[in-house]
Symmetry: D2
């Protein structure tokens, strides 16, 4: 565990905030600005936060920037297809090397998340400003550190409901209840290579959910949880000759094997 | 659970058997022929088995054939890159729809397996004809049904060792010990969409492992385990309006939300 | 996989049906009678079903009966403490040997279930005849085989809600939504020794839920899933001398170890 | 995440060190002294470490001491039965409340570990001073933070081998290879209530393994990982009236239910 600040990049497609008046009212400087502020507010000197957006060169995610990113938080919705395949490939490789990845809300349908899940990531949805109650089902997980009680409420949200077509999560941390009748695995972890991935559904361009104290705490905790850590393995996948321990001399496909074959 | 036979397609790249004398001695009609015989021998009338090979049109895996396949067993090694991307896409979609997939031995490095794992799938290896001892660590799993004892031995094998760069398996069924000093998660399950995936490492073109009684039993059990089953969900990912249960009338981004925002 | 019938014992404390008029109206011959009929109806000749009740000698679960039981379904609520500790111990041992165990509804608070979970198994509850919607989140699992759609509804139930203090389930199959605002991990699997355990919450003495077609199907599927299967391991926990593979001769705590110690 | 030191209690039965000359040579002040030093060495001011031993009143684990313990490390071997049942009960309750628990080596057969696993916890063993190679299979886990490479070696150990009769671990972090032919799930995590449990097998009274740099690092990392964290849930298991969200008025077991029943 290092004492160096965790280098966070908050990526946002930054489209609704420019094209939709109601979103601009909530997120005048973009969702990325509010997410960055939330992470800084919670983690202080333990983080260095930068932002990146779709309209920047290489979608704001050059090799240099990714190389200096420990945790990448991603928010996309309206323009998943505009993210270049090269950037998707690059982000994927960095996750395998150990970069943490926070997949926020509608990022479930992004190229990068669907690629890392290798499922459709489809879900059911409804935009009816209904109530969501987020139940904590893994209360000792560091991602819910400091939250109070068994659940918290979000007064008006977009509903995301099951069946959510993802691989079995490594850890299921929260399950959401929706007024209109659905449930959702709203906080889940996955690992790919040396990288840790956290999917968290609360958050939408039409509701000010990234101002909610519990949502902010969970996202900040997830940054800390997803920061690179572990053993120094780099994944060589190589031939190991000579062997670590002695092997009795044999002839490949020897007599006994042929006897075995004849049985 | 249906009484109709499970329709199995055994796919083999079928290259070593034509180009390498020692492999031809062991598998004169191809690895697929021996695998097919093993599955028929174990499961009898409960299966219908066909084969497919790389050199056939569309790599032997047309949409029609896949539509009539319940479980696809795959063996590839020397020519992963020669499988067309369209076939890889098609197989992936069929797995998501519920087709079982057995990834045998060097299939770890195939396009289709790496795509469904979304990791490098790299491992360490050595071809030194050493001993492997396969330990059963999930003794109540249907895939080891009928095996006797805590382990079984394979006298001469290619070594596949950790670190094996895969997502955390849903289930870890066997761990292999190798004479030369490595361990390997040799039998693992994963789920993608409605499809069940079993990776099983024992099996190599230079050793007659697909004649081994325990290996054959495991593969046949895995066919039965991976056969499509479950609820009739087809993954619509759609808007649910009206809601299943009543929602109190609200104005989207109403006054209380703005108050919430100001906090 | 054997063709012999699965021997099922349905255990019921059989108290509410004798003391409470409204329960007697629903389950005149006891919950065990309805559960037995459901299992026979679904599985026919594939099962042999017997029943046992709390008031019988040794709570109906003698060593002889348990020895001839492949899957034990358990329903208890009002008299968990009246089950003898010797019976609890005996059932636990049989599970470790491979007997399946279905923990139905209020069995969450039984001695035997709490012992096998080693947690409080506490949950929140409410008896308000509210609606429950059971969502399937593991659609390829054999326990939901044959169910249609993403969910099914139960019109009036007792609510069981999170936080449910259980170990992380091996598999989470259903999540329930409740009209009054809670969610619940209503269908979960666990393994202990060679035994498979399924907890399923829908079912209550005051509501006729064991007549519901989906509930019956799930319970019957779970009987089939929990039936003993797997490798013949019996758990010896013994000293292995001589070793399976050769060990280079060494002196215990030899010079190099002392050098190691001094470092 | 608090900045207060993690309060660690290292418990040792402290018998071999007093009765066996070869153990005294390695651990003159007891295994607990060496473990305490290792934890202090790695974590410095982040921990406060005390020790407790079997021969103390209440086995050294009074309610007061446990109340001030965040993580309890446990080493027992020869005298599991001498630990009082009241102490076992007390430790179990504290784990459910959130105290971390490190189960070291032969602690697999202790009353407290077997109670929390609810399985036999049996394994195979051999004391032949053979080599162990500990392979890291979860390289991004905080418990292996800072380790270098894919594995580390221990020159002479007691062998602990599969089948290890434990529930499916929540996380499998290391798998050990043994010269004599076995494998072992040597580093595993479990959760019970709000408490985190880490089982780690390397460590024996006859070998100086607790002086090994990698073993020490893993144990210190595990202290940090197991420290209490998470949401403030305390497990009330109570009736929730009135409901959180409105429920349509109904009569319990009403007409529609009776119709349902007749179907």
């Amino acid at each position: 565990m290092t004492d160096k600040p965790i280098r966070v990049t908050v990526w946002n497609e930054f489209i609704h905030e420019r094209t939709c008046e109601s979103t601009r009212m909530i997120y005048p400087d973009g969702i990325h600005a509010v997410l960055s502020a939330a992470i800084r507010e919670q983690l202080g000197a333990a983080v260095e936060v930068r932002t990146a957006t779709l309209d920047q060169p290489e979608n704001g995610l050059t090799a240099e920037i990714l190389a200096r990113t420990d945790v990448l938080a991603w928010w996309g919705h309206a323009a998943h297809d505009q993210v270049s395949d090269a950037v998707v490939e690059r982000v994927h490789q960095r996750v395998l090397e150990g970069m943490g990845f926070l997949a926020l809300h509608s990022t479930h349908a992004s190229k990068i998340f669907r690629r890392m899940m290798a499922t459709s990531c489809m879900l059911r949805w409804r935009e009816a400003a209904e109530k969501e109650r987020v139940w904590i089902v893994d209360p000792s997980h560091p991602i819910v550190d400091g939250l109070e009680g068994e659940f918290f409420e979000l007064p008006q949200v977009e509903m995301y409901g099951e069946f959510f077509d993802i691989p079995r999560p490594d850890e299921l941390i929260t399950i959401s209840w929706f007024e209109g009748g659905e449930v959702f695995r709203s906080g889940c972890t996955f690992r790919r290579g040396k990288g840790k991935i956290f999917y968290f559904s609360p958050g939408h361009e039409a509701f000010p959910l990234y101002y909610d104290a519990n949502v902010r705490k969970i996202i900040a905790n997830a940054v800390r949880w997803a920061a690179p850590r572990g053993s120094s393995y780099v994944g060589d996948g190589r031939n190991i000759e000579p062997s670590l321990s002695p092997i009795a001399a044999k002839h490949v496909v020897d007599e006994s094997l042929h006897a075995h074959l004849k049985k």
